[in-house]
């Protein structure tokens, strides 16, 4: 089976006046459809940078990055927008919901621009918020808000779901709930899910774990038997 994402010598550097920060250095990997991947690494190691490259949030500095054979490293801002629009879903540590749209509307913001969206009702059902459809973000708890954010990302029915510390602001119980949803999306719809976390415990759920240090992909662990989210602990 062909990988859906391929990176060769992928690098990203930031120019800050005189100084150049190499946030990512010569990273190589292949990612396949339906994979559940966790990225681990110390703070400032370049995890978010990597995820942003994959998600078309920012332009690549050097090296190559392909999605289903199409180059992303040469794509202009317009192409990257289209890539995000049709292929990627994002979830952040801070939920970034529209404060003046209710749950239902927040999700429809995403489905309106998607090519083949899931039904909002179904997604709400999946995240268990059917009875909160008319609530505004300020009327929801943190975990509920994160589930709305997740629902919003899933509803577009993206091939790749990218999560930057999705449980970072949540307590243990709520985190498990969110992880379950991610796993289910990965398995039921056969989508690729990539998660950044500081929790080594979460890594046990993954098919593969990428270890990042100082902007480099130091090694990749293969997990023969991923554990279900319920069994995760930290």
């Amino acid at each position: 089976m062909a990988p859906i994402l391929v990176a060769k010598n992928l690098s990203k550097s930031y120019q800050m006046g005189e100084i150049r920060v190499d946030a990512l250095k010569d990273v190589d990997f292949e990612i396949y459809k339906g994979e559940f991947i966790v990225i681990l690494g110390p703070s400032g190691s370049g995890k978010s940078t990597l995820l942003n490259m994959i998600g078309g949030m920012d332009q690549v500095s050097a090296g190559e990055l392909y999605y289903k054979g199409n180059p992303l490293h040469t794509a202009d801002l317009k192409k990257l927008t289209l890539f995000r629009r049709h292929t990627v879903g994002f979830v952040f540590q801070f939920y970034n919901l529209m404060p003046n749209l209710n749950t239902y509307e927040n999700i429809s913001l995403a489905t309106e621009i998607a090519e083949d969206p899931l039904s909002i009702e179904t997604v709400l059902e999946e995240v268990g918020l059917s009875d909160r459809a008319q609530h505004f973000p300020s009327q929801l708890s943190g975990g509920q808000q994160q589930r709305v954010a997740l629902a919003r990302a899933i509803a577009k029915n993206p091939d790749i779901l990218l999560c930057d510390e999705p449980t970072g602001a949540l307590d243990f119980q709520t985190s498990i709930q969110v992880l379950k949803l991610l796993k289910r999306f990965c398995e039921n719809y056969e989508k690729t899910v990539i998660i950044i976390t500081h929790n080594a415990g979460i890594a046990k759920m993954a098919h593969r774990v990428f270890y990042i240090k100082d902007g480099q992909l130091t090694h990749i662990d293969h997990n023969e038997n991923p554990v279900p989210p319920e069994a995760v602990s930290w």
Partner: protein, 788 residues
């Protein structure tokens, strides 16, 4: 350290601050340049009047012996008094088929310090024994005359040569109109010449009499008292008209122009500064909200309230100072060409501009007052916060249904972006109000000058094409029965219609209200002068009663049915007065008149067949022949050709439209600024929401639509609000602009509204286009990684 923060904050939002400064600059340009032009006009006027001994009173008489002057001079309150001959003569210039008039005014070259003395800018003194003249500079320049050149005139039916020995300017003809009915000075067809009294007497054959008196008053003398003494003295000699300086045409027009400028200089800059103040207020308020945390930390560090206040006020201070300095300098600089422009209209020496420290400083102060007031209002919240409170995020927005959501068919129609936009509007009502008022103001600023341009054109063309529809007007030299002339004209080749008309100067009185106007007598079935009512329908001049113009009715506090007292020096017995009933009030925008049927007018005056002019309709091709035939007639004063007057006016109107385009430009800039700033503020306030929309894969255009929808939605209502606002401004404008020569109608034209609509929409569109660039630059990663 805080200073660095100020500079960085300003840099970050430089577009918005520059826009705010621009609006201040526009306001100050108007304030400074107008104020300076007003001062320049005032100064030049006062100096000119003082130096040339400009008269305080004027009288026109049939004929009075020159020897009477010594007696009149001694009347109480009179400082100096001079008798003059004033007479319009026709000029014979080669290759000119137009009628050209030269107003001859006698002076006594032996006397020093004559009243209304001309300032000689070129040439030599007049020789009292010679047929020599001085002419006014505009006429001299327009006709490319030369000193020592002789020009040929026709006086009392005879051709005479006059030698030009000098040229210059007179305080009596700063704005030189031949008759009070003219709109603009026309040096092409009207000039003024000064001539020694002795030679003028022989030229006109007037013997030892004069027909015009000018006088100056002793300090602290009331003109009215002197007039009361003079009238009985002059009446036996056929007093035609006596009036104060304030009613002298040239002085009146100059004064009214200055008053109009003063009204503008006082009101318009305040509007611009108010808009700028609102922008500043909103920007600072937003900044304070976004910097709650920073303020909290500053307070926690132990910064005093005063230091923090100073910090936030320094933004306003910087903006106000920059705006004030640039606006002041540009205004001063603009006052130079602006003053030069006035030199074209007002012919007086010493009318020029110079750097004015006073207005420069005043401009900066004005700008600072507005900026600091707005700034203080914007940031005072920050001062009252407790440090701990400041570091907590502001109370969350409570989701609540708004009324519009209940109109479900409308709500269903909206895209999600539309729904966001509408909720935003209600979330921030102050901001929405600002956009509403800002765009409404823009709309009015665009509709107003356009309306005024349309209206003034309409008025003038209506006057020529609908009201005074004659081809030629022949002014008679004596208001006497002119049977012979009328008979002749009726038989002139190409003549289609001949109508008589009487223009009688009268004083109308109602209670204690009083006004000097010209009462026009017209034949019952006149076709050449149409009196129109509000709906544009023709009205016959009344046989019983009088029609008066709307403005006259207001000035005299008259209504239909009231009875009005008429006094006139042309009454058979000038001591008597008559009463007539007002039977109608008509709109009149050019001039200030009353109307009666001509026979009824004659009866009222106790006269028979008085005619002052004859209106003609005739073949255009026969007009030159007519002019030729009557050029030398002593019975005829002037032959006015409507078509050539209209052509001249059109030419002049084209040159005044520059001002209108400047006002339009100001309007567009203001609209752009308001919309651009509100877009920028919204962008920075909601960058997080907008960034997440971008991450989802929305294009910048789709993201922008949240903001643009809001602006178009408000903009639509703002433009509707702009219509009554324009109407109000037009009424205000009409009140300050209207005078006895010209009153402005207050109906907006459909065209101006359409243009304002298009231009306002255009500036909204442009501002959004430019704001869109900011969205493209939004750093997604940066925005989203921070906590809310």
């Amino acid at each position: 350290m805080l200073r660095k923060k100020v500079i960085r904050d300003l840099k970050e939002n430089k577009g918005a601050y520059i826009a705010c400064i621009t609006v201040i600059v526009l306001g100050l340009i108007i304030f400074t340049s107008f104020s300076m032009v007003i001062d320049n006009l005032h100064l030049a006027q006062t100096r000119f009047y003082n130096q040339q001994n400009f008269a305080d009173g004027f009288a026109e008489i049939q004929a009075i012996p020159y020897s009477e002057m010594d007696h009149l001079k001694k009347l109480k309150g009179i400082d100096n008094l001079q008798g003059r001959l004033v007479k319009d003569v026709k000029l014979v210039l080669k290759d000119q088929d137009k009628n050209i008039y030269l107003r001859l005014i006698s002076i006594d070259p032996t006397q020093e310090n004559n009243i209304n003395e001309m300032v000689l800018s070129q040439g030599i003194p007049l020789d009292r024994q010679e047929m020599n003249i001085w002419v006014d500079n505009k006429f001299f320049e327009t006709h490319q005359l030369k000193l020592a050149q002789e020009i040929e005139i026709i006086a009392s039916g005879k051709k005479k040569n006059l030698r030009i020995v000098g040229m210059g300017k007179s305080p009596e003809y700063i704005y030189a109109l031949r008759t009070a009915n003219d709109l603009f000075p026309t040096p092409e067809t009207f000039g003024i010449a000064w001539m020694p009294l002795e030679r003028m007497k022989t030229l006109l054959g007037t013997g030892e009499t004069v027909n015009n008196i000018v006088f100056t008053l002793k300090p602290n003398t009331d003109y009215k008292d002197v007039e009361e003494l003079l009238i009985p003295e002059l009446k036996p000699y056929g007093l035609k008209n006596i009036f104060a300086r304030k009613d002298q045409t040239s002085h009146l027009i100059l004064t009214q122009e200055i008053q109009g400028l003063e009204a503008m200089a006082r009101s318009v800059p305040l509007l611009f500064l108010a808009v700028a103040g609102m922008i500043l207020y909103i920007m600072l308020k937003r900044m304070v909200q976004q910097q709650r945390g920073q303020i909290g930390i500053l307070k926690a560090f132990g910064y005093t309230r005063r230091e923090i206040r100073r910090h936030y006020l320094s933004y306003a201070l910087i903006i106000g100072t920059i705006g004030g300095v640039i606006g002041g300098l540009l205004g001063i600089w603009l006052s130079f060409p602006f003053t030069t422009l006035y030199q074209i209209y007002f012919n007086m020496p010493g009318l020029n501009s110079q750097f004015s420290l006073k207005y420069f400083v005043m401009g900066i102060l004005l700008s600072l007052v507005f900026a600091i007031f707005a700034g203080y209002q914007g940031c005072k919240k920050a001062l009252t916060l407790q440090p701990a409170e400041a570091m907590r995020p502001p109370a969350p927005h409570r989701g609540k249904k708004i009324i519009l959501e209940k109109v479900s068919f409308f709500w269903q129609m909206l895209t999600v972006q539309g729904k966001m936009a509408i909720r935003n509007m209600t979330r921030n009502p102050g901001r929405s109000l600002f956009i509403l008022l800002g765009i409404a103001f823009t709309f009015s600023l665009l509709a107003l000058p356009w309306s005024m341009k349309d209206l003034s054109q309409q008025i003038i063309f209506d006057q020529f094409e609908k009201i005074e529809t004659y081809d030629v007007k022949v002014a008679l030299s004596h208001p006497l029965p002119q049977k012979k002339v009328i008979w002749e004209l009726n038989h002139f080749p190409g003549m289609k219609r001949v109508e008589t008309r009487a223009d009688i100067p009268v004083t109308l009185k109602h209670n204690w209200y009083k006004k000097d106007v010209v009462l026009i007598g017209l034949p019952q079935n006149s076709h050449l002068y149409n009196i129109l009512d509000e709906t544009g329908h023709k009205m016959a001049p009344p046989k019983n009663g009088i029609l008066i113009s709307g403005r006259l009715a207001k000035l005299l506090n008259m209504e239909v049915g009231h009875s009005i007292t008429v006094e006139s020096l042309m009454m058979k017995d000038p001591e008597t007065t008559s009463k007539v009933t007002v039977v109608g009030i008509i709109p009149q925008y050019l001039g200030l008149n009353a109307y009666m049927e001509i026979e009824a007018l004659n009866t009222l005056l106790g006269q028979k067949n008085i005619t002052t002019s004859i209106m003609l309709r005739m073949n255009e091709s026969d007009i030159p022949a007519l002019q030729k035939a009557y050029n030398q007639s002593s019975a005829i004063d002037a032959i006015d050709h409507q078509a050539s007057m209209l052509a001249q006016i059109k030419e002049l109107m084209a040159s005044t439209s520059a001002t209108i385009y400047i006002m339009l430009l100001f309007g567009i800039i203001t609209g752009f600024t308001v919309v651009y700033n509100s877009a920028i503020i919204t962008l920075s306030e909601r960058n997080r929401e907008l960034a997440s929309m971008m991450v989802m894969g929305m294009t910048p255009a789709e993201v922008l639509s949240v903001i643009t929808f809001e602006q178009w939605f408000i903009g639509f209502f703002a433009m509707i609000l702009g219509i009554p606002l324009t109407q109000l401004m037009l009424i205000g404008m009409a009140q300050s602009v209207s005078n006895d020569v010209y009153s402005m109608p207050t109906e907006m034209t459909a065209m101006s509204l359409l243009y304002a609509f298009l231009l306002t929409s255009g500036s909204i569109w442009l501002a959004q286009k430019i704001a869109a660039k900011k969205i493209k630059k939004l750093d997604l990663v940066e925005v989203l990684k921070s906590k809310e």
